[in-house]
């Protein structure tokens, strides 16, 4: 097992290198100039601009710049944001907690909802409950997150005035009252993300349960006299959750991209909002860093999914 994890880690190195190269090439080949703001500014003479280019190393060929960037990255130097002159890592460090808080809770909530709903659906397939759950699941993953977000704002903020419109990330929770405010402002973003994720997960739980229910071991468990509850929870559910757990690990990157939209709607200043703003400002170091972090997340999620699968299912042998 240890050997397998090690091997998978080694394989993921070229993948990450490939991704970093792709992202770098896209930026290097693109038209547009990080110093475009200076070019439009008549108070910056041409020679000064040229000196800045030289100092920033923008005149080197792309592969030299790539290796410089990569080696700096590996040493932990992620550069400075062009727009705010703050180290990129600090900037991301400020934004990440907001994103993780909302995302983590939303994901947890959708897992807690999806498993029981999926199990109940699979136990009585095509029953009234199953049909309602299926319809909701389809609605959940067909509703674009930005639309759900806007409709929720329209209902609960504009018309009913129950919940705040804009997420206040400067709020520090230090008393009961601020805690309630924090909960109130988190309700809508979490609902939006959880609705989408629950829909997908419910379908997977249901399908996996339906695969396992007719299996021989289930009949054995029933015929030796176990009650239905034990059969379902201890035997079927445990086996059905194996593929679901890997899907939960694989879904982490998806939910991060969902965050980009949600943060835009509710004005949460998380990492997704930072990405959009950096793209609009041509803030290359920040864009590269965030895109790269997303890529690392995908790779880690894949690795985790494989490892968990192996741990949970002894039938899988790594050779």
């Amino acid at each position: 097992m240890g050997l397998f994890i090690l091997r998978r880690l080694i394989i993921s190195v070229p993948t990450l290198l490939g991704i970093s190269l792709v992202i770098y090439m896209v930026l290097a080949l693109a038209p547009g100039d990080p110093l475009a703001q200076f070019a439009a500014d008549p108070s910056v003479p041409v020679e000064v601009r040229e000196n800045i280019r030289q100092a920033l190393g923008l005149n080197d060929p792309w592969y030299i710049r790539y290796f410089k960037w990569l080696s700096a990255l590996l040493r932990g130097d992620w550069g400075f944001s062009f727009a705010s002159r703050v180290p990129v890592l600090d900037l991301i460090g400020q934004r990440l907690p907001q994103t993780l808080q909302v995302l983590g809770l939303a994901y947890l909530l959708s897992i807690c909802l999806a498993i029981p709903i999926g199990v109940l659906s699979a136990l009585r397939p095509y029953s009234l409950f199953d049909n309602i759950a299926t319809t909701f699941a389809f609605i959940g993953f067909s509703l674009p997150t930005f639309f759900t977000g806007l409709v929720l704002i329209l209902i609960f903020s504009v018309n009913l005035r129950w919940l705040p419109f804009i997420y206040d990330s400067t709020l520090t929770v230090n008393s009961w009252e601020t805690f309630i405010r924090q909960i109130r402002q988190m309700i809508m973003p979490i609902t939006v993300l959880a609705l989408f994720q629950t829909g997908t997960l419910t379908r997977f739980v249901r399908a996996s349960m339906l695969d396992n229910l007719p299996a021989d071991y289930v009949r054995t468990a029933r015929s030796k006299g176990l009650n239905e509850r034990a059969v379902v929870l201890r035997h079927v559910l445990r086996n059905s959750l194996i593929p679901v757990v890997t899907l939960i690990a694989l879904g982490v990157p998806t939910i991060f991209t969902g965050a980009i939209v949600t943060e835009q709607i509710f004005r949460i200043n998380g990492i997704g909002e930072l990405l959009i703003r950096s793209i609009q400002n041509s803030d290359t170091p920040v864009i590269m860093a965030i895109t790269f972090i997303f890529a690392v997340l995908v790779v880690i999620a894949n690795l985790l999914a494989d490892v968990i699968y192996g741990l949970l299912d002894p039938r899988i042998r790594y050779s």
Binding site: A30, P144, I260, V298
Partner: protein, 320 residues
Amino acid sequence: MTDATTTAQSLPLETPASLARQTGLKQRPPRTLWGDAWRRFRRHRMAMAGMTVLAFLVIATLIGPLVYTESPRRIDFSKSMLAPSSTNPFGTDDLGRDMLARLLLGGRVSLAVGVSAMIISISLGTLIGSTAGFLGGRVDTILMRLTDLFLALPVVPLLLLLIFLFRDTLRRLMGPEMGIFWLIVCVIGVLNWMTVARLVRGSFLSLKEKEFVEAATMVGVRRLRIMFRHILPNTLGPIIVAATLSVGAAIITESVLSFLGLGFPPDVPTWGRLLYDGQNFMEFAPWMVLFPGFFIFLTVLCINFMGDGLRDALDPRQRG
């Protein structure tokens, strides 16, 4: 077994037609593969409903602008943000343009984006998957490493980045509408072929060992013909399901891009763009947000139900 051989020997010239004449039974048309699939699909009620609604939406966006002659572009400030009424069934926007006309025009663009991106991603995925699966060996290894690399790419950030960076260049080259259309379609297509490639490769790997391929090789069919005429049709079921679902995914992706302000320019009213424009007026004119969003939702919901029905119909082993 012996019974079957003796009957076959004693009735050497029986055809279904002559048998039908002898027994007096009415001859049924033969059951075909696609006929069976269609029968299974028809039994899926939600899929049929989805197909009907989707067909209605497609027809409405195609011929709607010919029947409903209100201009989607005429600005009239005296009619700014009117609520839905008999003259403007879906209301007007902040510049007094008719929402229904804009929705019909926008639907054309959104659906075209979905279908075009699907064609690109499915063709690319099928080509790469079938090449990898059929040739095997080193080609397979390289192509699958490439697929893994693409699967690990962070799609949405990359999409935003590509569109932001190349938008202006393409607009200069191909004009504002076509430039951004092809950019969005190609970028969505190129970042979405990986699952299809894996699916097709898997089917090819198992199918190329089958007897009918061996038989075709033996009678001297060329390799390219075996690939496309003999193996590929057998993998069509899962490809069709993936294609259907990817239209919905592409429509959502396009509207996300438009919603983030990195999609179509304001003069091209796609559903996502209309929503983006409407969100600032949500408090005064909720219909500017509700209708475009509802149409995106309805289209994607119909497509997902159809995909589910098609999976049941074409791929009975993989129900879920």
